[in-house]
Assembly symmetry: C2
Homo-oligomer: 391 residues x 2
Amino acid sequence: MELQLILLSADEAALRLEKVRKEMSCHGIDAIVISDNANKYYLTGRVFAGYIYIPAEGQVTYLVRRPVEMKGQGIAYIRKPEQIREHIGPDVPATVGLETDIMSYNMVNRIMTQFPESRLADATAVMRGARAVKTASELESIRLSGVKQDHVYSLIPSLYTEGMTDIELQVEIERASRLEGCLGQFRISGDSMELYMGNLLVGENADTPTPYDFAMGGEGMNPSLPVGCNGTLIKPGDTIMADINGDYTGYMTDMTRTFYIGEIRELAKKAHKVSIDICHRLAKEGTPGTKASSLYDTAMEMAKDAGLENYFMGHRQKAGFIGHGVGIEINELPVIAPRSRDILQPGNVIALEPKFVIPHTGAVGIENTYVVTADGMQPLTHSPEELISLI
Amino acid sequence: MELQLILLSADEAALRLEKVRKEMSCHGIDAIVISDNANKYYLTGRVFAGYIYIPAEGQVTYLVRRPVEMKGQGIAYIRKPEQIREHIGPDVPATVGLETDIMSYNMVNRIMTQFPESRLADATAVMRGARAVKTASELESIRLSGVKQDHVYSLIPSLYTEGMTDIELQVEIERASRLEGCLGQFRISGDSMELYMGNLLVGENADTPTPYDFAMGGEGMNPSLPVGCNGTLIKPGDTIMADINGDYTGYMTDMTRTFYIGEIRELAKKAHKVSIDICHRLAKEGTPGTKASSLYDTAMEMAKDAGLENYFMGHRQKAGFIGHGVGIEINELPVIAPRSRDILQPGNVIALEPKFVIPHTGAVGIENTYVVTADGMQPLTHSPEELISLI
């Protein structure tokens, strides 16, 4: 039994390749060697061990180490990167792009032994740029993840029983997610974040700073993974913020909802409403051509106007963004941050997460995933946005 | 509330630092800048965003980006790597070691702007070497993970119900593991492997090649994560191989057991017994000073003598090793492979996994985690090794 290398339709593979080549042209890069799993998945619809060599024109070469037995046009089996050159034809690119922002220093140098006449360029931005605008097929995958994630979130109150700790509830949400088809993997570019299956933040633990570049923190169950649940008993007066993995298709949605039990502080209720208001306002304003930084500014202004600046995007420690692109990975372009130079384009998929941490109560607010259209940002996650009682 | 940076005891932190400095000396490196989360966890007992600067002698500097509010000797808060130099004193190291095998090309170059007079060296091997021999405290953490993992494995038959698919059973094992305290995270160095929480291989799916450098494969639920369960119905005549995350303490054990239902082929039973025999023989022979390659050769010889070479370490696709170091990460030193130059040392922790793939039946064999002692390799995982009926 042989395995087909390219799992995308011929049209879809051609469309994605064209987008990548357009970015290569903009960056003045003559050929790229792609190694990152997320980028290989984008170009072929599967993860394999090896490289993809893409010249500005002509045949793409798939340099495969594993798995065995793959078939398709342009495949060459290699054992190590030092064999790349013998398989890619005689043309010498003046500039070779590698993913230097994520590929190890040693690997970049090993690959460049194959291109002694070429100048090294950074292809990380090429791939990030191409992937920032989703194709119709990618949008369908994201939409489907959203439907499944919505369903799992609707189950959360039924998974809670009195006397549970945060981690006990999270484990039940994990199980429900997995049974719904969640792949579990939470693909992140780079090493600034680590997470297992999502973040459930209960009460004061939401205010514990994390080392990671997430919007919210939490102490974690162990200092080897200091984020999320810390074994807190869920008690009346707490908010319970659920931000659980939405990767059901290889493409993910990112959604947060906030639950509570008992009576919670008015300040928390107010902040939650402001979070919803910010999402609605930004979704309306987020038309193609809008500056990502202006969306951030609007959100910050609304938080200030509500007198909630001190709690916005964290309290003891603050996150520097209120939204981010999402797709194969959780940290794609554009970035909704004060110094972002990104401009919204039709087909961007963006998670907005204007959240608050209210001391002694917990985190409040929502997160939705949206697609940018001529009419603004259309939500791909549809769960009820108000605070939801767990009991 | 401030956070203590160093969570290790003073003695333990000093011991680990001494091991690292001894390796630095062997490699002729005058100072290292550590960035990798696993390495920072090794040196401090916690993960943080930032760097650790370790000169051959004198004060260690902890260059922290996040979390806020940490306290302890030698801490400096920085926003970016270009601020390292201003905090580490005036001495200029002739050679600076960075983790060039795992750190991105761009980050290496950014950090080296801080050391324009210094020569760059690879510190990856320094840290791998230091971490390969566990301290008594590390061994305790691994031992504890083994106890918990043993308990979860004892529950597996009770989690099975007739008509389950592989993924349905895996989800129940995941839940049982998490409730026992499994952290979920499966820390892997480099980008050659991706996995969510473990690998359950049922029947023929065990013979599907994976792109990853695992001993076994499996198709996976989606080509974005092509390993493990693929939705196979568990049926009589199948073997069910469970290789599930054993990270309960930040340090993990790695254990595999094989289950079955109904009548399975004699060939599978025979191969399973050979796997157990290989483990017992290697555990006896694995004294300090033993070549890792000779353990591999012995295993391969035993598989050949049993006439099972064609099924050993995979069938359609074969793995190139039969064991590996384990600790904070799943792929530590030593590597038990034919061309390994590693020599066993007291305190190495090694997972041995001599496994077989029997066509139309599935994977068989066991995996245990051992510590190398003067008397050979002592197991840290103790679950019954024979084939276990799920019903």
